[in-house]
């Protein structure tokens, strides 16, 4: 049985619903031999800022039970280097590119978008709003609905391409931030980013990470991510969602689709299995074939509510 894997995330059509998540697939070209990016629904870039950033000092990662904590600190080559060095190759390979954007001020976000708008071959933008808003005292953009609405609206003005806002699971009120992003003009919401977490070195009596806090990812958080997708989908059933958090298998992807996601992103799983996103596409296809699902799109939001 042949399965139609294509999905729509708002107006954006994808050949299949599996994207690589930001920060776990470089700029899309590091794993061409193990996981060809053009075989995926799309690739979300490492978060880009106007200028290159060195990120946090090491150590930056800690293994946890069925997950890991990272504090990379948004190291990136800067939007300009990305556009010059990676984008042409991605374009040539016909990769669906979603540029992940962050900044410490609203202007910084807009700068990244403006620079990208000069280029061909970008399919959509994803705003990483788990970033301290320097002008508003360091509170994360994604934690305060009014700030988030303004940020989204500013970015909305800068582009007509699909604009995704990536929600933080640490926000006091998830649904309120979701609504704010939509009010500001978001076309879709991606969720979730990493969960705030700490690791402690018992012998040395100090936090493992120099900045103490980091973000938890991997299968450990899957049940939380799935819950959040379901909550946002029930509150805002018309808004396209992109599900993220601990996805490791085709079946995991199905669960997120059923909960209301139109597509999914695979992050940490790629560290354990560099071909994970591609494998998940195949497993998803096999699942649909076995269950008699002709088109993956049918699964989106198809959860029976008891």
């Amino acid at each position: 049985m042949s399965v139609d894997l294509s999905v729509a995330v708002g107006t954006l059509r994808l050949a299949n619903p599996v994207l690589s998540a930001s920060g776990t697939f470089g700029y899309g070209l590091d794993l061409v031999d193990l996981c060809p990016p053009e075989a995926l629904g799309g690739v979300v870039t490492k978060g880009l800022s106007p200028l290159p950033r060195a990120g946090n000092p090491p150590p930056r990662i800690v293994e946890t039970a069925a997950g890991m904590i990272n504090a990379i600190g948004l190291q990136n080559v800067g939007v300009d280097a990305f556009c010059r060095e990676s984008l042409p190759q991605l374009r040539q390979r016909r990769v669906v590119v979603v540029v992940n954007v962050f900044g410490e001020t609203m202007d910084a976000y807009v700068q990244v978008l403006r620079r990208c708008e000069e280029e061909e071959g970008i399919a959509a933008y994803e705003l990483n709003v788990s970033c301290p808003n320097v002008s508003a005292g360091g509170m994360e953009f994604g934690h305060e609905p009014q700030q988030l609405e303004r940020l989204t609206a500013r970015c909305r003005e800068a582009t007509e391409k699909p604009l995704w806002v990536k929600l933080s699971p640490n926000a006091p009120d998830l649904v309120a931030t979701a609504r704010a992003a939509v009010a500001g003009g978001a076309d879709a919401l991606s969720l979730i980013n990493t969960v705030r977490a700490v690791a402690i070195d018992a012998e040395r009596r100090r936090p493992v990470l120099p900045r103490v806090f980091g973000g938890l990812s991997g299968p450990a958080i899957k049940p939380i991510a799935l819950r959040m997708v379901l909550e946002v989908h029930r509150a805002l059933p018309e808004v396209p969602l992109v599900g993220i958090g601990g996805i490791e298998t085709g079946r995991d992807a199905v669960e997120f689709l059923l909960a209301g996601a139109s597509a999914v992103q695979v992050g940490t799983a790629t560290f354990r299995d560099p071909a994970a996103p591609l494998r998940i596409v195949r497993e998803l296809e096999a699942f649909c074939a076995a269950e008699g699902v002709g088109a993956v799109q049918e699964l989106v939001g198809a959860l029976a509510w008891p």
Binding site: A54, G55, R60, I61, N70, P219, F271, P274
Partner: protein
Amino acid sequence: MIARRDMRVRLAARRELSPSCFLLELVTDTPFEAQPGQFGMLACRAGRDPFLRRPFSLAAVGARGEGTVCELLVKEVGRGSRALRELAVGGELQLLAPLGRGFDLATPEGGRLALVAGGIGLPPLLFAAERLAAAGQPFDLFLGAATAAELLLVERCQRAVGAVGGELVLATDDGSRGERGVITEALARRWASGAAYATALACGPTPMLAALTQLARSWGLELQLSLEEPMACGVGVCLGCVVDGADGRRVTTCKEGPVFRASELAARWWQ
């Protein structure tokens, strides 16, 4: 560049080398090759515990039948290495290899290499030693450990060194075998008595590498270091394994390393 592959490997044998260290012989059906200093990311047990793969330096890679046999030397310290200790012979694991940038083994005309290994830093240097021996390139091997029992595979090292008329220098902190003290002091004594090396290749604990860097700088000796940093992906996509580079950039140990020339690293990395 040698193509990397994510391979199914079978544990063909495990051999105890010391109270804490053992050797794994992993075989795979597909042929693969590697350079000394390169490593593999090994899933140490089926399932999700440990969650991440662990990087291990390749200690030897060679053809066996249609396939390949690959040796690792492992020190038992935590979840991953313990799982490897428990794995029954015949059990299967997943290995992504070869990864990273290995040693540059080219010796300047008439020059001589010093290989310096501390404790479980031996594997990449054993690989280098056996390659150099096979190629007839002269070298001396400096091997240090806390105590005699932790000097690994001494005879095998001796054979490799002997093949090219080199010297195997042993040192232990407690003097139970070889010279007493740390291995860098043994190297310094050789240097002082006129042994001029073109390049040193080294792997071992950070204090050893730091001491070596100081000495090499004062001697004007070129130095290649194999570094160990915590890694999540091993392939350059997570940016988890960075160290500070000489040019102010943070460089990935897994992709740009694990072997760096000392001059590529920030001076403060050593303090």
